[in-house]
Amino acid sequence: MIRLNDISFAYDRSRPVLSHVSLQIGKGERVGIAGANGAGKSTLLKLLVGLLFPDPMGKTPQESGWIGIDGIQVTKKNLAAVRQKIGYVFQDSDAQLFMPTVEKDVAFAPKNYGLDAVQTQKRVEEALSLVGIEDLRKRSVLELSGGQKKLVSLATVLSMRPDILLFDEPTIALDPGNRRRFIRILPELGGTHLIVSHDLDLLLETCGRIILLSEGRIVADGDTETILRDQSLLEANGLELPLLIQGQRLASSADQRTQ
Protein backbone atom coordinates (compact mmCIF):
# COMPACT_ATOMS: atom_id res chain seq x y z
CA MET A 1 0.00 0.00 0.00
CA ILE A 2 1.11 3.56 -0.77
CA ARG A 3 0.30 6.29 1.74
CA LEU A 4 1.00 9.98 1.42
CA ASN A 5 0.22 12.05 4.45
CA ASP A 6 0.10 15.84 4.13
CA ILE A 7 2.96 16.08 1.65
CA SER A 8 4.24 19.45 0.50
CA PHE A 9 7.16 20.15 -1.80
CA ALA A 10 8.75 23.15 -3.50
CA TYR A 11 11.80 23.46 -5.73
CA ASP A 12 11.65 27.17 -5.07
CA ARG A 13 10.09 28.25 -1.75
CA SER A 14 7.98 30.96 -3.40
CA ARG A 15 6.29 28.46 -5.74
CA PRO A 16 5.13 25.25 -4.04
CA VAL A 17 4.77 22.32 -6.44
CA LEU A 18 2.75 20.14 -4.07
CA SER A 19 0.68 21.42 -1.16
CA HIS A 20 -0.70 19.20 1.58
CA VAL A 21 -1.30 16.15 -0.58
CA SER A 22 -2.71 13.13 1.20
CA LEU A 23 -3.80 9.91 -0.45
CA GLN A 24 -3.87 6.15 -0.14
CA ILE A 25 -3.45 3.60 -2.90
CA GLY A 26 -4.30 -0.01 -2.16
CA LYS A 27 -2.44 -3.10 -3.26
CA GLY A 28 -3.19 -4.06 -6.86
CA GLU A 29 -4.90 -0.77 -7.67
CA ARG A 30 -4.24 0.84 -11.03
CA VAL A 31 -4.35 4.59 -10.55
CA GLY A 32 -3.93 7.37 -13.09
CA ILE A 33 -2.61 10.78 -12.14
CA ALA A 34 -3.73 13.53 -14.46
CA GLY A 35 -3.18 17.26 -14.50
CA ALA A 36 -1.92 20.12 -16.62
CA ASN A 37 1.79 20.88 -17.06
CA GLY A 38 3.35 21.89 -13.77
CA ALA A 39 0.58 20.36 -11.69
CA GLY A 40 3.12 18.33 -9.71
CA LYS A 41 2.54 14.87 -11.20
CA SER A 42 6.15 13.90 -11.91
CA THR A 43 7.27 15.45 -8.63
CA LEU A 44 4.80 13.21 -6.82
CA LEU A 45 6.36 10.12 -8.44
CA LYS A 46 9.87 11.28 -7.56
CA LEU A 47 8.83 11.73 -3.94
CA LEU A 48 7.51 8.17 -3.86
CA VAL A 49 10.88 6.69 -4.86
CA GLY A 50 12.92 9.05 -2.72
CA LEU A 51 14.50 11.00 -5.56
CA LEU A 52 13.05 14.01 -3.76
CA PHE A 53 12.00 14.41 -0.16
CA PRO A 54 9.00 16.31 1.25
CA ASP A 55 9.75 19.92 1.94
CA PRO A 56 9.29 21.15 5.51
CA MET A 57 8.03 24.51 4.15
CA GLY A 58 9.20 26.28 7.25
CA LYS A 59 7.97 23.55 9.60
CA THR A 60 9.93 20.84 11.30
CA PRO A 61 10.51 17.72 9.16
CA GLN A 62 7.97 15.84 11.30
CA GLU A 63 5.29 18.33 10.34
CA SER A 64 6.04 18.20 6.63
CA GLY A 65 4.20 14.95 6.16
CA TRP A 66 5.42 11.49 5.31
CA ILE A 67 5.23 8.83 2.66
CA GLY A 68 4.86 5.14 3.40
CA ILE A 69 5.35 2.23 1.00
CA ASP A 70 4.05 -1.07 2.37
CA GLY A 71 4.56 0.23 5.88
CA ILE A 72 8.09 1.52 5.26
CA GLN A 73 8.51 5.25 5.56
CA VAL A 74 10.40 6.82 2.66
CA THR A 75 13.46 8.29 4.32
CA LYS A 76 17.10 8.46 3.26
CA LYS A 77 17.80 5.59 5.62
CA ASN A 78 15.13 3.30 4.15
CA LEU A 79 15.75 4.07 0.50
CA ALA A 80 17.21 0.68 -0.43
CA ALA A 81 14.22 -1.18 1.04
CA VAL A 82 11.73 1.19 -0.60
CA ARG A 83 13.39 1.10 -4.00
CA GLN A 84 13.39 -2.66 -4.10
CA LYS A 85 9.60 -2.51 -3.99
CA ILE A 86 9.16 0.17 -6.63
CA GLY A 87 9.98 0.24 -10.31
CA TYR A 88 10.03 3.67 -11.90
CA VAL A 89 9.76 3.99 -15.67
CA PHE A 90 11.16 7.39 -16.62
CA GLN A 91 9.51 9.77 -19.04
CA ASP A 92 12.78 10.01 -20.97
CA SER A 93 13.91 6.51 -21.88
CA ASP A 94 17.32 7.80 -22.93
CA ALA A 95 17.96 8.71 -19.33
CA GLN A 96 16.94 5.27 -18.16
CA LEU A 97 19.07 3.20 -20.51
CA PHE A 98 22.80 3.43 -20.06
CA MET A 99 24.29 -0.01 -20.55
CA PRO A 100 25.74 -1.07 -23.91
CA THR A 101 23.15 -3.64 -24.86
CA VAL A 102 19.51 -4.31 -24.03
CA GLU A 103 20.38 -7.56 -22.25
CA LYS A 104 23.01 -5.89 -20.07
CA ASP A 105 20.67 -3.04 -19.22
CA VAL A 106 17.93 -5.43 -18.15
CA ALA A 107 20.48 -7.38 -16.10
CA PHE A 108 21.74 -4.26 -14.32
CA ALA A 109 19.24 -4.29 -11.43
CA PRO A 110 19.35 -8.04 -10.63
CA LYS A 111 23.16 -7.89 -10.64
CA ASN A 112 23.07 -4.94 -8.27
CA TYR A 113 20.75 -6.78 -5.95
CA GLY A 114 23.35 -9.50 -5.69
CA LEU A 115 21.72 -12.22 -7.80
CA ASP A 116 24.10 -14.75 -9.31
CA ALA A 117 24.59 -15.16 -13.06
CA VAL A 118 21.95 -17.91 -13.42
CA GLN A 119 19.27 -16.04 -11.50
CA THR A 120 20.11 -12.79 -13.28
CA GLN A 121 19.76 -14.49 -16.66
CA LYS A 122 16.42 -15.96 -15.56
CA ARG A 123 15.16 -12.50 -14.58
CA VAL A 124 16.37 -11.06 -17.89
CA GLU A 125 14.54 -13.76 -19.88
CA GLU A 126 11.39 -13.25 -17.84
CA ALA A 127 11.39 -9.45 -18.25
CA LEU A 128 12.16 -9.57 -21.97
CA SER A 129 9.45 -12.11 -22.63
CA LEU A 130 6.86 -10.23 -20.54
CA VAL A 131 7.39 -7.18 -22.71
CA GLY A 132 7.84 -9.26 -25.86
CA ILE A 133 11.23 -7.93 -26.89
CA GLU A 134 13.38 -11.08 -26.80
CA ASP A 135 14.61 -10.26 -30.30
CA LEU A 136 16.19 -7.02 -29.10
CA ARG A 137 18.41 -8.58 -26.45
CA LYS A 138 21.72 -8.16 -28.28
CA ARG A 139 20.93 -4.74 -29.74
CA SER A 140 22.70 -1.60 -28.63
CA VAL A 141 20.32 0.68 -26.76
CA LEU A 142 21.49 3.58 -28.90
CA GLU A 143 20.17 1.90 -32.02
CA LEU A 144 16.61 1.44 -30.80
CA SER A 145 13.58 3.43 -31.88
CA GLY A 146 11.68 5.55 -29.35
CA GLY A 147 9.01 2.87 -28.91
CA GLN A 148 11.55 0.10 -28.48
CA LYS A 149 13.43 2.18 -25.91
CA LYS A 150 10.23 2.61 -23.92
CA LEU A 151 9.60 -1.13 -23.90
CA VAL A 152 13.22 -1.83 -22.92
CA SER A 153 12.91 0.73 -20.10
CA LEU A 154 9.92 -1.21 -18.85
CA ALA A 155 11.85 -4.49 -19.04
CA THR A 156 14.79 -3.00 -17.08
CA VAL A 157 12.38 -2.24 -14.25
CA LEU A 158 10.46 -5.52 -14.46
CA SER A 159 13.66 -7.49 -13.93
CA MET A 160 13.57 -6.15 -10.36
CA ARG A 161 10.15 -7.82 -9.87
CA PRO A 162 8.77 -4.72 -8.15
CA ASP A 163 5.44 -4.73 -6.28
CA ILE A 164 4.66 -1.22 -7.45
CA LEU A 165 5.20 0.25 -10.89
CA LEU A 166 5.35 3.98 -11.50
CA PHE A 167 5.03 5.23 -15.06
CA ASP A 168 5.86 8.80 -16.01
CA GLU A 169 4.18 9.61 -19.32
CA PRO A 170 4.57 6.06 -20.62
CA THR A 171 2.99 6.63 -24.02
CA ILE A 172 4.71 9.89 -24.86
CA ALA A 173 6.38 9.65 -28.30
CA LEU A 174 4.93 6.20 -28.93
CA ASP A 175 3.29 5.49 -32.26
CA PRO A 176 -0.26 4.07 -32.13
CA GLY A 177 0.99 0.51 -32.60
CA ASN A 178 3.47 0.67 -29.73
CA ARG A 179 0.95 2.54 -27.59
CA ARG A 180 -1.57 -0.24 -28.13
CA ARG A 181 1.13 -2.81 -27.36
CA PHE A 182 1.91 -1.02 -24.09
CA ILE A 183 -1.77 -0.98 -23.12
CA ARG A 184 -2.01 -4.71 -23.89
CA ILE A 185 1.04 -5.51 -21.77
CA LEU A 186 -0.01 -3.45 -18.74
CA PRO A 187 -2.62 -5.82 -17.23
CA GLU A 188 -0.19 -8.76 -17.54
CA LEU A 189 2.38 -7.06 -15.31
CA GLY A 190 0.50 -7.38 -12.05
CA GLY A 191 1.10 -5.35 -8.90
CA THR A 192 0.09 -1.79 -8.15
CA HIS A 193 0.39 0.73 -10.98
CA LEU A 194 0.58 4.49 -10.79
CA ILE A 195 0.46 6.13 -14.21
CA VAL A 196 1.16 9.80 -14.73
CA SER A 197 -0.04 10.89 -18.13
CA HIS A 198 -1.60 13.58 -20.27
CA ASP A 199 -2.94 10.77 -22.42
CA LEU A 200 -6.37 10.63 -20.80
CA ASP A 201 -7.48 7.93 -23.23
CA LEU A 202 -4.72 5.74 -21.87
CA LEU A 203 -5.87 6.38 -18.31
CA LEU A 204 -9.47 5.71 -19.31
CA GLU A 205 -8.52 2.33 -20.74
CA THR A 206 -6.10 1.22 -18.08
CA CYS A 207 -6.97 2.76 -14.71
CA GLY A 208 -9.85 2.20 -12.33
CA ARG A 209 -9.17 5.37 -10.40
CA ILE A 210 -8.02 8.87 -11.29
CA ILE A 211 -6.38 11.50 -9.16
CA LEU A 212 -6.60 14.94 -10.69
CA LEU A 213 -3.93 17.38 -9.64
CA SER A 214 -3.97 21.11 -10.13
CA GLU A 215 -1.35 23.53 -8.87
CA GLY A 216 -0.05 20.96 -6.45
CA ARG A 217 -3.38 20.05 -4.89
CA ILE A 218 -5.71 17.12 -5.40
CA VAL A 219 -8.87 18.51 -6.97
CA ALA A 220 -10.55 15.20 -7.69
CA ASP A 221 -10.00 11.60 -6.71
CA GLY A 222 -12.35 8.86 -7.76
CA ASP A 223 -13.73 6.59 -10.43
CA THR A 224 -12.05 7.07 -13.82
CA GLU A 225 -15.25 7.18 -15.88
CA THR A 226 -16.86 9.73 -13.58
CA ILE A 227 -13.92 12.12 -13.53
CA LEU A 228 -12.95 11.80 -17.18
CA ARG A 229 -16.54 12.42 -18.32
CA ASP A 230 -16.75 15.64 -16.28
CA GLN A 231 -15.99 18.16 -19.01
CA SER A 232 -16.22 21.26 -16.83
CA LEU A 233 -13.91 19.76 -14.19
CA LEU A 234 -11.34 18.80 -16.79
CA GLU A 235 -11.47 22.12 -18.60
CA ALA A 236 -11.21 24.06 -15.35
CA ASN A 237 -7.95 22.23 -14.73
CA GLY A 238 -6.35 22.68 -18.12
CA LEU A 239 -7.42 19.33 -19.64
CA GLU A 240 -9.87 18.15 -22.25
CA LEU A 241 -12.25 15.23 -22.48
CA PRO A 242 -10.54 12.05 -23.68
CA LEU A 243 -10.89 11.55 -27.43
CA LEU A 244 -12.84 8.36 -26.85
CA ILE A 245 -15.51 10.22 -24.86
CA GLN A 246 -15.49 13.12 -27.31
CA GLY A 247 -16.10 10.57 -30.07
CA GLN A 248 -18.93 8.93 -28.16
CA ARG A 249 -20.57 12.32 -27.59
CA LEU A 250 -20.21 13.26 -31.23
CA ALA A 251 -21.69 9.94 -32.27
CA SER A 252 -24.62 10.23 -29.89
CA SER A 253 -25.38 13.81 -30.97
CA ALA A 254 -25.21 12.69 -34.60
CA ASP A 255 -27.63 9.89 -33.74
CA GLN A 256 -30.00 12.36 -32.11
CA ARG A 257 -29.88 14.61 -35.18
CA THR A 258 -30.68 11.73 -37.52
CA GLN A 259 -33.61 10.65 -35.32
Binding site: L51, Y88, D94, F98, P100, A109
Partner: protein
Protein backbone atom coordinates in the same frame (compact mmCIF):
# COMPACT_ATOMS: atom_id res chain seq x y z
CA UNK B 1 29.88 17.07 -35.77
CA UNK B 2 30.60 13.98 -37.89
CA UNK B 3 33.66 13.50 -35.69
CA UNK B 4 31.39 13.50 -32.65
CA UNK B 5 29.14 10.86 -34.20
CA UNK B 6 32.28 8.93 -35.05
CA UNK B 7 33.43 9.16 -31.42
CA UNK B 8 30.03 7.97 -30.16
CA UNK B 9 30.25 5.06 -32.60
CA UNK B 10 33.72 4.22 -31.29
CA UNK B 11 32.51 4.17 -27.69
CA UNK B 12 29.55 2.03 -28.75
CA UNK B 13 31.86 -0.38 -30.55
CA UNK B 14 34.03 -0.63 -27.46
CA UNK B 15 30.90 -1.36 -25.44
CA UNK B 16 29.96 -4.25 -27.67
CA UNK B 17 33.51 -5.40 -28.24
CA UNK B 18 33.46 -8.24 -25.75
CA UNK B 19 30.61 -10.01 -27.55
CA UNK B 20 32.04 -9.82 -31.04
CA UNK B 21 35.74 -10.40 -30.58
CA UNK B 22 37.29 -13.77 -31.48
CA UNK B 23 38.80 -13.49 -28.01
CA UNK B 24 35.33 -13.59 -26.43
CA UNK B 25 35.94 -16.99 -24.84
CA UNK B 26 39.07 -15.80 -23.08
CA UNK B 27 38.63 -14.49 -19.56
CA UNK B 28 39.17 -10.69 -19.35
CA UNK B 29 41.78 -11.18 -16.64
CA UNK B 30 43.94 -13.23 -19.03
CA UNK B 31 43.70 -10.45 -21.61
CA UNK B 32 44.45 -7.77 -19.05
CA UNK B 33 47.49 -9.64 -17.70
CA UNK B 34 48.76 -10.18 -21.24
CA UNK B 35 48.42 -6.48 -22.06
CA UNK B 36 50.09 -5.42 -18.83
CA UNK B 37 52.98 -7.86 -19.18
CA UNK B 38 53.43 -6.79 -22.78
CA UNK B 39 53.57 -3.13 -21.71
CA UNK B 40 56.12 -3.92 -19.00
CA UNK B 41 58.29 -5.99 -21.34
CA UNK B 42 58.22 -3.37 -24.08
CA UNK B 43 58.99 -0.44 -21.81
CA UNK B 44 61.83 -2.37 -20.18
CA UNK B 45 63.66 -2.75 -23.50
CA UNK B 46 66.98 -0.84 -23.25
CA UNK B 47 66.88 2.39 -25.22
CA UNK B 48 69.43 1.38 -27.89
CA UNK B 49 67.96 -2.10 -28.51
CA UNK B 50 65.86 -1.45 -31.56
CA UNK B 51 66.08 -5.13 -32.46
CA UNK B 52 64.11 -6.06 -29.32
CA UNK B 53 61.51 -3.39 -30.07
CA UNK B 54 61.08 -4.86 -33.55
CA UNK B 55 60.78 -8.34 -32.04
CA UNK B 56 58.01 -7.19 -29.72
CA UNK B 57 56.36 -5.45 -32.67
CA UNK B 58 56.44 -8.70 -34.62
CA UNK B 59 54.81 -10.46 -31.67
CA UNK B 60 52.05 -7.87 -31.48
CA UNK B 61 51.47 -7.97 -35.22
CA UNK B 62 51.21 -11.75 -35.08
CA UNK B 63 48.75 -11.43 -32.19
CA UNK B 64 46.64 -8.95 -34.17
CA UNK B 65 46.60 -11.17 -37.26
CA UNK B 66 45.81 -14.31 -35.27
CA UNK B 67 42.92 -12.73 -33.38
CA UNK B 68 41.71 -10.63 -36.31
CA UNK B 69 42.37 -7.28 -34.64
CA UNK B 70 42.99 -4.29 -36.84
CA UNK B 71 46.15 -2.18 -36.28
CA UNK B 72 44.91 0.12 -39.08
CA UNK B 73 41.74 0.89 -37.14
CA UNK B 74 43.87 1.72 -34.11
CA UNK B 75 46.02 4.08 -36.19
CA UNK B 76 42.91 5.73 -37.59
CA UNK B 77 41.31 6.25 -34.18
CA UNK B 78 44.42 7.18 -32.21
CA UNK B 79 46.49 9.00 -34.82
CA UNK B 80 46.68 12.08 -32.60
CA UNK B 81 48.34 10.08 -29.85
CA UNK B 82 50.78 8.49 -32.28
CA UNK B 83 51.67 11.98 -33.46
CA UNK B 84 52.34 13.03 -29.88
CA UNK B 85 54.70 10.08 -29.45
CA UNK B 86 57.03 11.64 -32.01
CA UNK B 87 57.65 14.47 -29.58
CA UNK B 88 58.52 12.22 -26.64
CA UNK B 89 62.17 11.77 -27.56
CA UNK B 90 62.56 14.71 -29.92
CA UNK B 91 65.48 16.20 -28.00
CA UNK B 92 67.46 12.95 -27.93
CA UNK B 93 69.21 13.45 -31.32
CA UNK B 94 70.31 16.92 -30.16
CA UNK B 95 71.55 15.89 -26.72
CA UNK B 96 73.01 12.49 -27.54
CA UNK B 97 75.26 12.88 -30.61
CA UNK B 98 77.51 9.88 -30.28
CA UNK B 99 77.83 8.36 -33.78
CA UNK B 100 77.04 4.66 -33.76
CA UNK B 101 77.39 3.90 -37.44
CA UNK B 102 77.23 5.54 -40.83
CA UNK B 103 74.40 4.71 -43.18
CA UNK B 104 75.26 5.98 -46.64
CA UNK B 105 76.24 9.58 -45.95
CA UNK B 106 74.19 9.89 -42.76
CA UNK B 107 75.77 9.58 -39.34
CA UNK B 108 73.34 7.57 -37.22
CA UNK B 109 73.67 8.76 -33.64
CA UNK B 110 72.64 7.02 -30.46
CA UNK B 111 70.15 9.89 -29.93
CA UNK B 112 68.38 8.97 -33.17
CA UNK B 113 68.22 5.33 -32.16
CA UNK B 114 66.89 6.12 -28.68
CA UNK B 115 64.26 8.48 -30.14
CA UNK B 116 63.11 5.79 -32.52
CA UNK B 117 63.06 3.18 -29.78
CA UNK B 118 61.03 5.49 -27.50
CA UNK B 119 58.54 6.02 -30.32
CA UNK B 120 58.30 2.31 -31.01
CA UNK B 121 57.84 1.47 -27.34
CA UNK B 122 55.07 4.06 -27.00
CA UNK B 123 53.38 2.97 -30.21
CA UNK B 124 53.46 -0.71 -29.26
CA UNK B 125 52.00 0.04 -25.82
CA UNK B 126 49.23 2.08 -27.44
CA UNK B 127 48.47 -0.74 -29.88
CA UNK B 128 48.31 -3.30 -27.08
CA UNK B 129 46.01 -1.06 -24.98
CA UNK B 130 43.75 -0.63 -27.99
CA UNK B 131 43.67 -4.36 -28.65
CA UNK B 132 42.75 -4.94 -25.02
CA UNK B 133 39.93 -2.39 -25.24
CA UNK B 134 38.46 -3.77 -28.46
CA UNK B 135 38.69 -7.38 -27.37
CA UNK B 136 37.36 -6.86 -23.85
CA UNK B 137 34.90 -3.98 -23.54
CA UNK B 138 35.02 -1.55 -20.64
CA UNK B 139 32.91 -3.54 -18.19
CA UNK B 140 35.06 -6.63 -18.64
CA UNK B 141 38.23 -4.62 -18.16
CA UNK B 142 36.75 -3.30 -14.92
CA UNK B 143 35.80 -6.80 -13.78
CA UNK B 144 39.37 -7.93 -14.51
CA UNK B 145 40.76 -4.97 -12.55
CA UNK B 146 38.45 -5.93 -9.69
CA UNK B 147 39.84 -9.45 -9.81
CA UNK B 148 43.34 -8.07 -9.23
CA UNK B 149 42.02 -6.05 -6.27
CA UNK B 150 42.13 -2.57 -7.77
CA UNK B 151 40.23 -0.40 -5.22
CA UNK B 152 36.49 -0.29 -5.84
CA UNK B 153 36.39 3.49 -5.60
CA UNK B 154 38.81 3.74 -8.52
CA UNK B 155 36.73 1.32 -10.59
CA UNK B 156 33.59 3.33 -9.88
CA UNK B 157 35.27 6.54 -10.92
CA UNK B 158 36.50 4.99 -14.18
CA UNK B 159 33.06 3.48 -14.81
CA UNK B 160 31.16 6.72 -14.18
CA UNK B 161 33.60 8.81 -16.22
CA UNK B 162 33.24 6.33 -19.05
CA UNK B 163 29.44 6.57 -18.87
CA UNK B 164 29.61 10.38 -18.59
CA UNK B 165 31.83 10.51 -21.64
CA UNK B 166 29.09 8.92 -23.76
CA UNK B 167 26.50 11.37 -22.44
CA UNK B 168 28.79 14.31 -23.06
CA UNK B 169 29.42 13.18 -26.63
CA UNK B 170 25.71 12.66 -27.26
CA UNK B 171 24.83 16.08 -25.88
CA UNK B 172 27.64 17.69 -27.87
CA UNK B 173 26.33 16.00 -30.99
CA UNK B 174 22.80 17.29 -30.33
CA UNK B 175 23.91 20.84 -29.53
CA UNK B 176 26.13 21.07 -32.60
CA UNK B 177 23.47 19.58 -34.85
CA UNK B 178 20.96 22.16 -33.58
CA UNK B 179 23.55 24.90 -34.18
CA UNK B 180 24.44 23.68 -37.66
CA UNK B 181 20.78 23.53 -38.72
CA UNK B 182 20.36 27.18 -37.77
CA UNK B 183 23.66 28.35 -39.22
CA UNK B 184 23.56 27.08 -42.79
CA UNK B 185 26.66 27.52 -44.90
CA UNK B 186 28.85 28.17 -41.88
CA UNK B 187 31.96 26.08 -41.43
CA UNK B 188 32.51 25.08 -37.83
CA UNK B 189 31.42 27.17 -34.88
CA UNK B 190 31.63 30.93 -34.89
CA UNK B 191 33.92 31.99 -32.03
CA UNK B 192 31.23 34.29 -30.58
CA UNK B 193 29.13 31.28 -29.54
CA UNK B 194 31.88 29.03 -28.25
CA UNK B 195 31.41 30.01 -24.62
CA UNK B 196 27.63 29.78 -24.49
CA UNK B 197 27.51 26.60 -26.54
CA UNK B 198 30.12 24.78 -24.50
CA UNK B 199 28.47 26.00 -21.28
CA UNK B 200 25.05 24.84 -22.38
CA UNK B 201 26.47 21.52 -23.54
CA UNK B 202 28.13 20.92 -20.17
CA UNK B 203 25.01 21.90 -18.24
CA UNK B 204 22.83 19.67 -20.37
CA UNK B 205 25.17 16.73 -20.11
CA UNK B 206 25.42 17.19 -16.33
CA UNK B 207 21.65 17.29 -16.14
CA UNK B 208 21.41 14.07 -18.11
CA UNK B 209 24.17 12.49 -16.08
CA UNK B 210 22.17 13.32 -12.94
CA UNK B 211 19.05 11.64 -14.36
CA UNK B 212 21.02 8.61 -15.50
CA UNK B 213 22.57 8.35 -12.06
CA UNK B 214 19.10 8.52 -10.51
CA UNK B 215 17.99 5.73 -12.81
CA UNK B 216 21.02 3.69 -11.72
CA UNK B 217 20.24 4.32 -8.06
CA UNK B 218 16.62 3.29 -8.54
CA UNK B 219 17.84 -0.01 -9.89
CA UNK B 220 19.93 -0.73 -6.85
CA UNK B 221 23.24 0.88 -7.88
CA UNK B 222 25.46 1.22 -4.87
CA UNK B 223 28.96 2.65 -4.87
CA UNK B 224 30.14 -0.95 -4.89
CA UNK B 225 28.70 -1.99 -8.24
CA UNK B 226 29.26 -5.64 -8.96
CA UNK B 227 31.57 -5.75 -11.96
CA UNK B 228 31.00 -9.45 -12.41
CA UNK B 229 32.77 -11.64 -14.91
CA UNK B 230 30.71 -12.43 -17.99
CA UNK B 231 33.18 -15.12 -19.10
CA UNK B 232 34.24 -17.81 -16.65
CA UNK B 233 37.92 -18.77 -16.40
CA UNK B 234 38.41 -21.82 -18.59
CA UNK B 235 41.04 -23.94 -20.27
CA UNK B 236 41.16 -21.60 -23.27
CA UNK B 237 42.03 -18.70 -20.96
CA UNK B 238 44.86 -20.65 -19.31
CA UNK B 239 46.24 -21.79 -22.68
CA UNK B 240 45.98 -18.27 -24.08
CA UNK B 241 47.79 -16.77 -21.12
CA UNK B 242 50.58 -19.37 -21.05
CA UNK B 243 51.24 -19.18 -24.79
CA UNK B 244 51.18 -15.39 -24.84
CA UNK B 245 53.52 -15.03 -21.87
CA UNK B 246 56.02 -17.61 -23.13
CA UNK B 247 56.14 -16.26 -26.68
CA UNK B 248 56.46 -12.68 -25.44
CA UNK B 249 59.24 -13.56 -23.03
CA UNK B 250 61.13 -15.49 -25.73
CA UNK B 251 61.06 -12.58 -28.12
CA UNK B 252 61.92 -10.09 -25.40
CA UNK B 253 64.87 -11.93 -23.85
CA UNK B 254 66.33 -13.85 -26.80
CA UNK B 255 67.75 -11.36 -29.30
CA UNK B 256 66.53 -13.18 -32.40
CA UNK B 257 66.87 -10.17 -34.68
CA UNK B 258 70.46 -9.50 -33.55
CA UNK B 259 71.24 -13.14 -34.19
CA UNK B 260 69.67 -13.01 -37.65
CA UNK B 261 71.51 -9.75 -38.34
CA UNK B 262 74.86 -11.19 -37.33
CA UNK B 263 74.21 -14.20 -39.57
CA UNK B 264 73.60 -11.88 -42.51
CA UNK B 265 76.69 -9.76 -41.68
CA UNK B 266 78.87 -12.82 -41.40
Amino acid sequence: MDKLDDAIRTVRELDEADDQSPLAKVHPLAKLVTALVFAVLVTSVPKYRLDLCFAMGVWLYGYAVFFRLSPGECLRRLWGLFLLLFFVGITNPILDRKVLFVMGRVNVTSGMISMLSLFLKGALTLFSAWFLAVSCGMLNILSALKAVHVPQVLLNVIYLIYRYLTLLLEEASRVFTAYRLRAPGQRGLHFSVWGSLVGSMLLRSMDRAETVYQSMELRGYQPEYAFTDSTPWNGTSSLYLILCLISMALLRFIPIFSFLGSLVMN
